[in-house]
Symmetry: C2
Subunit: 284 residues, 2 copies
Amino acid sequence: MAKALSGKEVVSSINKSIKGEVSFLSDRGIVPKLAIVRVGERGDDISYERGASNRCAKVGVEVKKILLPDEVPQDRLLSEIEDLNKDETVHGILILRPLPRHIDDSLIRNAIRPEKDVDGITDGSMVGVYTGEDIGFPPCTPQACMEILDYYGIDVTGMNAVVIGRSLVVGKPAALMLIKRNATVTVCHTRTVDTPSISKAADLLIVSAGRAGIVGKDYLREGQIVIDVGINVNDEGKLCGDVDYEAADAIVEAVTPVPGGVGTVTTSVLVKHVVLAAKRQSGF
Amino acid sequence: MAKALSGKEVVSSINKSIKGEVSFLSDRGIVPKLAIVRVGERGDDISYERGASNRCAKVGVEVKKILLPDEVPQDRLLSEIEDLNKDETVHGILILRPLPRHIDDSLIRNAIRPEKDVDGITDGSMVGVYTGEDIGFPPCTPQACMEILDYYGIDVTGMNAVVIGRSLVVGKPAALMLIKRNATVTVCHTRTVDTPSISKAADLLIVSAGRAGIVGKDYLREGQIVIDVGINVNDEGKLCGDVDYEAADAIVEAVTPVPGGVGTVTTSVLVKHVVLAAKRQSGF
């Protein structure tokens, strides 16, 4: 049986360190604050907002919600963001996306000051991931993968890592973050010929394919570490990942479960970024 | 014997298309102009400047040179760049680097308007490479590799491509450009375990290792396409690449020579970017 890389354990470790930082800041009169900007009433947004707010509350991070109607004019949204940029009590800004179609996504994303871009969506944050410099913040999901590796003491130096997926929110940043950590990285995607063979050769597999259970036994071998970024609903209405967990459990060395794996860590990374932003903005 | 992927042929094809564009612009009263900013008197800089100027002259692109002393104050350099940004007759700006130590490289790079950043050094251009969007310009060297692929009709879709090197000027952008072109891409570097085996499995190999002749027969197999980005001087004082050309010549399907390969195309890409910048800035 594979070792389950439990997201809960990682979260509890991150929370512990966050609480220490929050208490350090609190002694200096600073309360880290996240502003969540939501346009409209999409169920996904509301549930992510709830998760993030609860996680913040648990560790003493304040949340300010900016709720705007679906038909909000772009200028109004822009001026809300500018107010949040100027507001010294707000350290991080999270904009729930996708935004309605009448709004220019790139304009809104890049209106956020990179120092407050705790979700890693500005061009500045992307340059940071690309160059490996400390500009803005990396996107939370690939950073969650790195936190899992760190918590379990997995040094990827010299490992053959395969990333399945080439999106801007997971695949590309995960690949660049692994390259920075000295892994040899291969990026597979929908146009890859024979992804199973390539995956099978990997020491570390990060899967963000967006298809339930697609990574089965023909992708896997003994000794692998598998991180499953997928979040899907299967035919029985249950949450599941991109990895066939039963198959992985029988073959590989370690695998993240879904639910209870990367997803749960992602929210903690967001909160960690807010606290880090608060520290930086306060000169610590 | 391998087919030699001649840079000269690619250059002559690019020059032909550039001349057409220059004549189109000239009919509308526009002469594309490149500004070259050089600080100090480094031999490498002077020789690159000469090469670029000659190439520009051949196709009817004007060159404006801004020559500044080694000890130029940063503010002065910055104000020169701002003048070039504002000057509507200047379409592209090339800053020869590295800059002297007293100058903040990031500040100077990012002072260039991305539309005029024909050498792909601004954060804006990097975001363009990372996201695959049309922002600024890609760096000239990896773009030269793409031009070679295009000229020889090599579609990389589904190919296993291996990039040796992870620099910001070659390795990372080349990898991202190949991913955009639907290749399955592996990035190897100094911390990779067994680069020869990984290279040997590649259909396409782009080598930017910075070590003369390091890629020998244990990296190569029949049927491969090899693009050698290296420019080194060997023990006999001759220019040579990172690939052992004789070994490659005996084994692979096609290989770029050094000299006469990627390097010569790089300068043409710079000129092509200037003409493209002139077109865009004139609304064509």
